[in-house]
Amino acid sequence: MTEPVSEAPRPYTLIAELTYRCPLRCPYCSNPTDLAAHGEELGSEDWCRVFGEAEELGVMQLHLTGGEPLARKDLEVLAKHAHELGLYTNLVTSGVPLTQPRLEKLAAAGVDHVQVSVQSATPALADEIAGYAGHAQKLEVMRWVKALGLPLTMNVVLHRANLGEIDALVALAEQMGADRLELANTQYVSWALTNRAQLLPTREQIEQAALAAAPHRERLRGTMDVLFVKPDYFGTTPKACMDGWARRFVQVIPDGRVVPCHAATSITSLTFDSVRGASLREIWERSPAMLAYRGEAWMKEPCRSCDRRAIDFGGCRCQAFALTGDAANTDPACSLSAHRGAIDAPVAAERPEERRYLHRGR
């Protein structure tokens, strides 16, 4: 541990990845590709302590996610504790291993909002993408969520096989009574990078999908929030990944290590400290991995003197590491990056005709 920085930023959101276990095997999963190399899951007591420490730090939003958080038998206990701390508690789930009575218990425990992932508006395609026949169950779960009066987000990760379905996806979300629809283009890290040739759309597909989403956004304003998250591969500026490294979001992964984002353990040049050995505050304020890319001091050119450095923070560190070998490099999604070719080459490449995903393991 090094000396504390005088003023660490205040995190508003804790992303609690309770487990990496999941019945689905989506080829763009944001969980690590080396799942077997990860340690044992934190117990209930540790999680409850971490929630309290997060609230102390300023966190107001909690995401109970995974993997599939429902794989944890103690989810009700964790949700209840989070509710007692006054955290706005989001359950991020595939919906697959859920029953109506369990959802009722979770609602009673204090879950504020449920996000259900949907892989496609076409049942057979949805099940093919997920590597599991769960689509029909997901529709049931969304109906239960609304029947309980809970706010519902339907989340869809977009890629080549489902980008043409925008109208149908919006129609499905409306039919389910969703309050929010997240249409999020794949971010090519972790499993999605492994499957990039299969998942990466063409520029025409992206443009058509954006055009298709825009009128729905207008039409449904005030009724259903429609978010269309553009992919960085087709733009000239990088994403403001996580609103900056270890700035607004703090994340704890199943084995207790504290990271700034889902994919950060892919940056093998960093060592992440665990809440088993220190408080969340100590780690947030002082651990070398949190300080590594916080603020601007780490930046090299062209980021260091760039007008956009406080807007996009140099983009995604995980993407910089994966595609350039150095996490302190400018994200190659930036047109000013010397490594932009690492993005342009797969965009320009022929797309394989046959769909053959490498599904994540369980």
Binding site: R10, Y12, T13, G58, M60, Q61, H63, G86, Y88, N90, D112, H113, Q115, G149, P151, T153, D179, R180, R221, G222, T223, M224, D225
Partner: protein, 93 residues
Amino acid sequence: MSIDGPFVPRLAKKARLKLDRHTGKTMILYPERGLELNDAATAIAQKLDGVRSIAGIAEELAREHEGAPREAIEKDVVAFVTLLQAKGLLERP
């Protein structure tokens, strides 16, 4: 729906008012987001109960802040409720 004097707004079920103990400000928390309110907005937000109309809320606020011009307050209430409506933070009628 037109947002004016007779309109009766109710904060959406997904939105929760919460005092941020770190800043002393009230926030509207909703899925994955938070909106920090100033004191005037907080006073309005606490009255969005689906019972009181915008005119009624303005009337009450004018009484609570003696000497404050009722018409100007009603304009503020309309503006804030319109913002909430655009963010999907009002219960659907």
